[in-house]
Symmetry: C2
């Protein structure tokens, strides 16, 4: 039977789902053709058709992570401080999907820190994320919801806080259930709002 | 010539230094017998004497990380808020040695998140670290240097903030030179100190 484009796309989606599942469970360190084949119930031979090398598999996994991160739903509950809060909530592992995604991001830090090109790419992405957050901080300051003060510093601090909270929540989900993560974030924002300018 | 205990200890130190250097450069994902052998200028055959399996090498590397972390010099500039600041400064990558050590910690997150036992061990260590920080927060509150407020929440938030700052500083050392890291930490502490209790 001839293979159609639809078959190809369907198989590609299955492979992506298997790669994602392996990363969420074993991290990049456990991402091997053998593990993806087992997840897929296929032979490693079939997979070498998609990923001739380990490097190709890792590159695909990183693209998948980026793609799924960009495609994730975003909160838009309001302007100013509400939009700062939205952006930070969007990062936290508050759902099983967001937990998998964060688990994979944290795992990818090791690979990217060892690769100067990838590391520069990550640094650029985090800087862009800080810039977007800074714009929201400025809007909150203009609305009088945050006191004056260097918006870049406030954005950097909020980003650091949320990334660290991601790591703690991944290691200790019992100590950091979603409601505690949200409470810690809201306490952080309340301190920002009540700080002297 | 007979091998003495001194020879053995000296060789062990050389092996440790090589394992450390490989982890600082390539992370746990790049930690292989071959890489350690190359760093040491030795054969992989010699190394299998020390590490019969990859698992043994990783276990050794994790012990080394723990040992060096425990042995690192600690700041003790004062009581109360100064001691909260000391504990947080001790974590940040403010020197080349602390940068290597943090690089290795971040790298170890991937391996430990994939291993339930190791993951539980990390969760325990981070909880202990928060408890120690909480004691310092309470002391600062008793001295009137921090407003009243749940000391466990303040400790959790400070730990998250510093861990996230570690990650950002590793990816973007140009944007986060030591003086900027210290400034961000001091801004965080100033907000804590000026917050309404």
């Amino acid at each position: 039977m001839p293979r159609t484009k639809g078959d190809h796309e369907a198989r590609r989606r299955e492979v992506s789902a298997a790669v994602w599942q392996v990363m969420a469970t074993r991290g990049f360190a456990g991402l091997t053709l053998r593990a993806v084949a087992a997840e897929l119930g296929a032979t490693t031979g079939l997979l070498t058709h998609y990923f001739p090398t380990k490097r190709a598999l890792v590159a695909y996994a990183l693209d998948l992570l980026e793609e799924r991160t960009l495609a994730r739903p975003r909160r838009t509950t309001g302007a100013g401080l509400a939009s700062v809060r939205d952006a930070l909530l969007d990062i936290l592992p508050l759902t099983p999907e967001a937990t998998d995604s964060n688990r994979i991001w944290v795992s990818s830090w090791d690979a990217s820190l060892s690769d100067p090109e990838l590391s520069a790419d990550y640094a650029r992405k985090y800087a862009q994320s800080r810039d977007r957050l800074r714009e929201r901080v400025i809007a909150a300051q203009e609305l009088g919801e945050l006191p004056p003060g260097d918006p870049a510093e406030i954005a950097s601090a909020a980003q650091a806080f949320v990334l660290g909270l991601v790591v703690q929540s991944l290691f200790d989900p019992a100590a950091y259930p979603p409601e505690r993560q949200v409470q810690l974030l809201d306490d952080h924002l309340a301190r920002l709002a009540s700080a002297r300018g």
